[in-house]
Symmetry: C2
Subunit: 354 residues, 2 copies
């Protein structure tokens, strides 16, 4: 078991390798605990939850709404929750995002912590204190920055996850290696098989290293003014692919990382050898590097939130493995590059990430 | 014009005596400004607003809802608001509470400031960073702590306010004097007529002193753990009177302060002379010291959020004028005291504050 202390306006502890049933040890003594989870997590692990009232939300991104938040406020009022109530989110990114937002706004702030049950939540949602919900098709448009007091990461619970869910987490781990840690890249290359087999020791290392990287970036830039933008590596195109194809986040981000790596080569920042090494690792980890998608729809989806034609986007490039740099790139250049990127296989059908 | 710097996790400036039309000078250069206001304030002062898109909400406490918040999110998305958008609330407590909450949660936090157009908002909502909305009959149950970058307080705009609105502010000023500042008590006693006539110099002094007191209390206890409870002086019974009678907040708090002063005498903390002096000042400022209200309903309304019979409430008493102390008082004792408090004139009708 390893514990990573995350700095911030309120400090947070990431506990990696601890069993889910031990979560009660991390709860403040005497606190009235309320658990927020979803149907799937409750079905798989409920017998390992602490003895506390249980609020269930729907599963998947569709549950990340203001209506869900309002329902949780209502349920908390029914439970007579007060400032001494501690909200424990047990689940993946959606549960953590929603529970964190509710905890940050109910009674102007309850204490809260998470047991993260997906690889993505363990490496990504666990650090940075971002929470929130979607609105009218825009992701995370409503939310706050507020760190949980702890995030417990049990590698064993990952065994019940579907493969697509593991891809989501693995893509973020690769992202963290590429933007900040050449050593983690090397570890991934030699332990790809162990990672895919969910070897607990390998997973524990990957989660720890990944969390440490994100914690360091976030610690330097808690409110997302600059440095933290590096964490968007692969996400500019990734979000567009996700929106256009409706594929899992991790698959979309993988395609986005391949695109950003190719653009880094074109800009003369990354060598062809490094580029090839990245693509090789992605294949070893079964992360898609290309997508069959309607090119015009994809171009339109990129920077959809930028209505002005001349807009630039903050785009994250690599100037080597483990070294990210943020550049302002005109949307027009980005769209032109999409047209010539070999990872985008034009199609007029529904498309897929491959 | 006087400027009070309020400490906090993010500092805030209260600018007292500045004209409303000068608010544009306080906006960050280059920011895209969006104004949030209500129908009444727009009708009275719109020609003095900065040139910016205007979002109007309904008037009064009934507009302080999650539906209003959601509508504002929707309008902000329509305006393509982004992280560079600055939200300017121009209005009273409701506008400031709602605008502050929306600014604190949209895109995980926009920059924001207020021009406070009621006496209550100038002396109370301006400091402390509390924002939020009501839900299912509970006040401010959803919200955050987040200070505006500035609050502009123009004494001239108070001239268009109805009398009940001035009582709301005056009650809070008296509260601040009673809990923390014997000098302000003296000033109020000698300037009661000027205060009622809205003499700009008197109002400027009252707002400044009042803000300084609240800022000092909040500065010592930003997240409401202890010291800040003193600001609830008069509010325990006040909230119950407000709920039971539906009278204005200030009138209800005035009755609550008279009750708390009487309880302080009974506890041997406050002298009969000091008690009489307080009641005399309240009369001079036309603040009600008693209410005709159904005693049983009032008892039931006190501590309505405490379902456990043995519950204690944190009750603020005076151990002299300008010196507050927080005591735990059993709900049963409080209810018994209500029955014997001469300021509560039993009635089975609708009742009123007198």
């Amino acid at each position: 078991m390893r514990v990573i202390e995350v700095a911030g306006s309120r400090p947070s502890r990431i506990v990696v390798g601890e069993r889910l049933e031990a979560v009660r040890r991390y709860l403040p003594p005497g606190a009235r605990v309320v658990v927020v989870t979803d149907e799937n997590v409750a079905a798989a692990h409920r017998d390992r939850f602490p003895d506390a009232p249980l609020l269930r939300i729907g599963t998947g991104e569709g549950a990340k709404t203001l209506d869900t938040v309002r329902e949780l406020y209502h349920r908390l009022m029914g439970l007579e929750a007060d400032r001494s109530t501690f909200l424990l989110g047990i689940g993946g990114g959606v549960v953590c995002d929603v529970a964190g937002y509710v905890a940050s706004t109910f009674l102007r702030g309850l204490r809260f912590g998470f047991a993260a049950t997906t690889l993505l939540a363990q490496v990504d949602a666990s650090v940075g204190g971002k929470n929130g919900v979607n609105l009218e098709g825009y992701k995370n448009i409503v939310g706050t920055f507020n760190q949980p007091e702890f995030v417990l990461c049990d590698p064993e619970v990952l065994r019940t996850l579907p493969a697509a869910e593991l891809v989501n987490g693995m893509a973020e781990i690769v992202k963290h290696a590429l933007i900040a840690d050449a050593d983690l890249m090397g570890y991934l290359e030699t332990h790809a098989a162990g990672a895919l087999a969910l070897d607990p020791a390998v997973i524990e290392t990957l989660v720890c290293e990944s969390v440490a990287i994100k914690a360091a970036v976030v610690g330097r830039d808690e409110r997302e003014q600059g440095e933290r933008r590096k964490l968007n590596f692969g996400h500019t195109l990734g979000h567009a692919v996700e929106r256009t194809l409706g594929v899992a986040h991790g698959a979309a981000v993988s395609v986005g990382m391949a695109f950003a790596a190719a653009l880094s080569v074109r800009k003369g920042l990354l060598s062809a050898e490094e580029h090839e090494r990245i693509l090789r690792l992605m294949r070893a980890l079964r992360l898609p590097g290309s997508a069959a998608v309607d090119c015009e729809r994809l171009k339109e989806a990129v920077g959809r939130d930028k209505k002005r034609a001349a807009a630039q986007v903050h785009f994250v490039l690599l100037e080597g493995i483990g070294r990210a740099v943020v550049a302002d790139i005109p949307l027009t250049e980005l769209r032109e590059m999409i047209g010539s990127f070999p990872g985008i296989v034009g199609t007029e059908g529904a498309g897929e990430a491959v």
